[in-house]
């Protein structure tokens, strides 16, 4: 389950890095995420040759080319389906899926929800910059209503997906959130995602410096981050603010942000985070906090064990094989079909 400390392993971040020159725009949030991913992989201690990174299409999907692992850069929207095939065929491999908000939630929305529902053990990283960058600036399925872009010159007239809500709607058992510029948190959630058995969705708020610069900075900028975000940690009080002076408390069916020592609230009133509780009601409320009325939650929000697809497929194969114990195809046909001899 979730262990947040950095472990000593036989691998260094550079073992996961190759010699390709990285082609993202200077200042792109993807650079930071790539570096953190190299570190998280070293923390995990799974060898590069046991690791497969699968991506779709988009800026973030170039990532496999910068890894010294097995990698596939595939077609738009299909990374989750391809990663599902890799993991189902070879449960022994550690499989990462890299998608952007367009790749993962628009063209690939169907595969996203089904991979989550199926609970196949892949680590699904969703780089959310709320824009299509590689096609030069169209709104994405996570862009806010009214967002002005090249394809919505008068503002969009549609509501966005909230990735966490989609994940929970698909009965997800792992959801975490990171920020491209918050390196330690991202490293922590990536390792937690990899250690979770089952589909792990990690939304990483990522900045597109060219087409959507500063889209997250109202929440993630260094000066405002501690006021507008809350870092959830297993078994710890839900505290935030520059000096951890604020906390989240239960308020009827909802949550409320309070200042400790004000309005009669004490530290005892502040909720303790439990990512492992099976009921997802509170997890969903935490994940849906938007950073405006309530602080945006980062860290591991939900992390619950459940049967994984590839393990059960493998188990069924082993069980049925052992039960029938055919030598080969011919043996199966001779034993189960009506046959006759011709001499």
């Amino acid at each position: 389950m979730t262990e947040t400390q950095t472990m000593e392993t036989n691998f260094k971040p550079t073992d996961f890095k190759n010699e390709q020159s990285v082609r993202w725009c200077p200042g792109c949030g993807d650079h930071a995420i790539l570096n953190v991913l190299h570190k998280a992989m070293a923390d995990l201690g799974v060898a590069p040759h046991q690791t497969v990174v699968v991506s779709g299409i988009g800026c973030s999907s170039r990532l496999p080319y910068y890894m010294n692992t097995y990698g596939m850069h595939t077609i738009h929207g299909r990374a989750a389906a391809i990663a599902t095939g890799v993991k189902t065929a070879r449960p022994d491999l550690t499989v990462w899926q890299i998608s952007g908000d367009g790749d993962g939630l628009a063209i690939g929305g169907n595969h996203f929800i089904h991979a989550v529902r199926r609970n196949v053990d892949i680590n699904m990283l969703l780089f959310n910059n709320k824009i299509y960058g590689l096609t030069k600036g169209q709104y994405s399925p996570t862009s806010a209503r009214g967002f002005v872009s090249k394809s919505s010159p008068y503002g969009t007239t549609e509501d966005p997906f909230i990735p966490a809500e989609l994940c929970f709607g698909a009965r997800g058992n792992f959801f975490a959130r990171g920020i491209d510029v918050a390196l330690d948190t991202t490293r922590e959630v990536l390792t937690a995602a990899a250690r979770h058995k089952g589909a792990s969705v990690v939304e990483i708020l990522q900045n597109c410096v060219i087409f959507n610069n500063g889209i997250h900075s109202g929440l993630t900028g260094k000066d405002v981050r501690f006021e507008h975000t809350i870092h959830l940690r297993q078994g710890e009080k839900m505290l935030f603010g520059d000096n951890n002076e604020k906390g989240l408390v239960q308020d009827g069916f909802g949550l409320k942000a309070v200042t400790i020592g004000q309005d009669g609230y004490t530290l005892d009133d502040v909720l303790v985070h439990d990512a492992h509780t099976p009921a997802n009601f509170l997890h969903q409320q935490l994940a849906m906090m938007d950073g405006v009325t309530l602080p945006l939650a980062i860290g591991v929000i939900r992390d619950v064990e459940a049967p994984t697809y590839e393990t059960d497929v493998q188990r069924q194969v082993e069980e049925v094989k052992a039960k029938k114990n055919w030598k080969d195809l011919r043996d199966m046909i001779l034993s189960t079909k009506e046959t006759w001899e011709v001499k």
Binding site: H49, V52, G71, T74, T84, A89, E338, E341, V342
Partner: protein, 616 residues
């Protein structure tokens, strides 16, 4: 009643069982064909079922049929039936058109009640007269009465008793064709091994049917069917979809690569998914995905991970998979895509047969994306060609599309279960340890056939990245250089072309030295062969060229075809293969015989078509 001759000897005979979807016609037909096969007959069967899953009982739309062709020289389920079994007036009405002139009918006269006749939209109370059937050619059997009488002491409830009606019909047919009742009972016993009471009841009914025929129509002609000596071995009957699934399993055993299927239900291909899902007992992972695209994409993932990866579908699904097939082309990964063709375009005729996906298979992708295209010729050939598709995919690192069709997928024939040594080892092009140490790159290839090497995840030092972007010929990293792109396009094309060195040459059948060659591909083989045999026997000499390897074509194909004055391509589309050949034989005029009715050719349509072209 019927002709007073005794035993007629025939080379082959076609029997059509028809009734309500729930009447068990397919079971009766299957037992009959298997017993016949056990007596040394060749067999070919074909089910004809309605698109509706449960149409109203006794209605015209609810009739299903099962046609059995037995004897020697059997290559198709037969154009028309010698004997029609009709379990109710609706079946009689809808199936009469499948009966040969002079053929005989066996019908349950107990179903000629007013309500039954009304449901089947008769306007009089005499269906035989209304349909203009010669009373001499119809054997009216009070099947329901007989059945109730036979099972009156069985303690079975009336509904269960009625379920045995198909066995009564089977008993009569066995008498008519001089089949060994004991052999039938053995088949039935195997079928109901766990339900001895059901077996006892059915056995009693079969005997009653046989006795009824023997006692009441002892003067009627019965038939003795000629047998053909076939290759010794153990046989079973198999339909095309099951054979396809088994061919893939055989390829998995011969290559040592575990089998993965990513699929999505679609008529008429779903039975491949069903069979492979059962074959977890042989280690197969068959996964029903969320859509057609996920079916092929998960297979591509499994292929990258080192499996023999397959996706199965029909035409509309192949359209959805085309982008992913392009990925497999440029990533140069082994993949088998099976397209069980049905009537199109769009949803078209989902349960009917056509050969209209040929051009989609050959060209239906963006960019220059050649891949290998194969086509199976018969239900049992589906086994061989599925094996071939997997062999070529694994040994040549390419996607392969195997075209079958609704006709051969659902039709079945007797099939000799292959021995261990009948099929060759498959040797995937794995990267060697030496290559890895020498600095291997993923698009390094064998100069002989342009095949790249395969490094399986988990292999230390074999880490590499593949993907949809063009790669540099030498360094295997992303390249947008135009000259390099052209080189890679031509290399991938050459790789497919050189598969021709690794497939059998075209063998010309019929009379090879005739001036005319009848050409076909895929599932029409049985009809074309029968037509060629009939033409040759009746003084119109023709050669027969039938294709199972479409891209690349066998090396000798164009030269062989060029020798003929008249090339006639017969296919179930508007001329796709003819166009394909015409583009490769610019100096030749190619004649065409085409049919797009959702049904296989009739042999007569082919023989008439050839004669009409030659007489023009």
């Amino acid at each position: 009643m019927l002709d007073n001759t005794n035993v007629k000897t025939l080379d082959r005979v076609v029997v059509r069982f028809s009734g309500d979807s729930g009447d068990g016609m397919q079971l009766a037909g299957n037992i009959f064909s298997n017993v016949s096969a056990g007596e040394g007959n060749e067999i070919s069967t074909f089910p004809d079922y309605p698109a509706e899953i449960r149409a109203p009982q006794g209605s015209l739309s609810g009739v299903s049929g099962f046609q059995v062709h037995i004897g020697k020289g059997v290559h198709t389920p037969g154009d028309q039936a010698d004997v029609l079994i009709a379990m109710n007036p609706a079946a009689l009405k809808t199936n009469l058109k499948f009966l040969k002139p002079g053929g005989i009918i066996i019908c349950d006269s107990d179903t000629f009640r007013e309500a039954d006749l009304k449901k089947a939209q008769y306007t009089t109370s005499d269906p035989v007269a209304e349909l203009g059937i010669d009373p001499q050619r119809i054997m009216l059997v009070p099947m329901t009465t007989l059945l109730k009488e036979t099972l009156k002491d069985s303690g079975m409830d009336p509904k269960s008793v009625l379920k045995c009606k198909n066995m009564l019909a089977l008993g009569i047919v066995c008498w008519l064709f001089d089949r060994d009742v004991e052999a039938v009972l053995r088949k039935l016993q195997a079928k109901f091994a766990k339900k001895p009471a059901v077996y006892e009841a059915n056995a009693k009914v079969i005997r009653a049917g046989w006795d009824y025929g023997h006692n009441t129509h002892s003067s009627m002609s019965t038939y003795r069917i000629e047998t053909e000596s076939v290759k010794p071995g153990t046989y079973t009957d198999v339909n095309g979809n099951t054979a396809t699934a088994w061919g893939l399993i055989m390829a998995s055993e011969k290559s040592g690569r575990p089998l993965y299927l990513g699929s999505y239900p679609i008529t008429p291909a779903t039975d491949i998914l069903h069979e492979l899902a059962k074959r977890k007992d042989l280690g197969v992972k068959a996964c029903q995905m969320e859509d057609e695209i996920a079916g092929v994409c998960s297979a591509i993932g499994a292929s990258f991970a080192g499996h023999l990866a397959v996706t199965s579908t029909s035409g509309p699904g192949l359209a959805l998979k085309s982008e992913a097939l392009g990925l497999a082309v440029i990533a140069e990964l082994p993949l088998v895509a099976i397209d069980v063709q049905r009537g199109g375009p769009s949803t078209g005729l989902p349960t009917k047969t056509e050969q209209t996906d040929l051009l989609q298979a050959l060209y239906g992708r963006n960019g220059e994306s050649p891949l290998c295209v194969l086509a199976a010729a018969s239900p049992t050939d589906c086994f061989t060609m599925a094996f071939e598709a997997a062999r070529i995919a694994l040994e040549h690192m390419t996607p392969v599309i195997l075209l079958t069709d609704a006709f051969i997928a659902n039709g079945s024939s007797a099939w000799r279960i292959p021995e261990e040594s009948d099929f060759p080892e498959i040797k995937p092009r794995f990267v060697s340890k030496d290559q890895l140490e020498a600095g291997w790159r993923p698009y390094d290839r064998d100069d002989k056939d342009k095949v790249r090497y395969w490094a399986l995840p988990g292999t230390e030092g074999g880490q590499h990245r593949v993907g949809g972007l063009e790669k540099d010929f030498k360094t295997s990293v992303i390249s947008t250089d135009g000259t390099n792109h052209e080189k890679m396009v031509m290399t991938r094309r050459e790789k497919i072309a050189r598969i021709a060195d690794d497939i059998p040459e075209l063998k010309i059948g019929g009379q090879p030295d005739a001036k005319t060659v009848l050409v076909g591909w895929g599932g029409t083989y049985g009809h074309l062969l029968t037509a060629a045999n009939e033409l040759n026997a009746s003084g119109t000499p023709v050669a027969l060229a039938h294709f199972r390897y479409i891209n690349p074509l066998p090396k000798n194909a164009l030269e062989e075809l060029s020798r003929y004055d008249n090339i006639i391509v017969a296919e179930l589309n508007t001329g796709m293969f003819a166009d394909y050949l015409q583009s490769k034989l610019p100096g030749k005029y190619i004649h065409r015989i085409n049919k797009i009715e959702g049904q296989p050719f009739m042999v007569k349509e082919l023989t008439d078509g050839v004669k009409s072209i030659l007489n023009d």
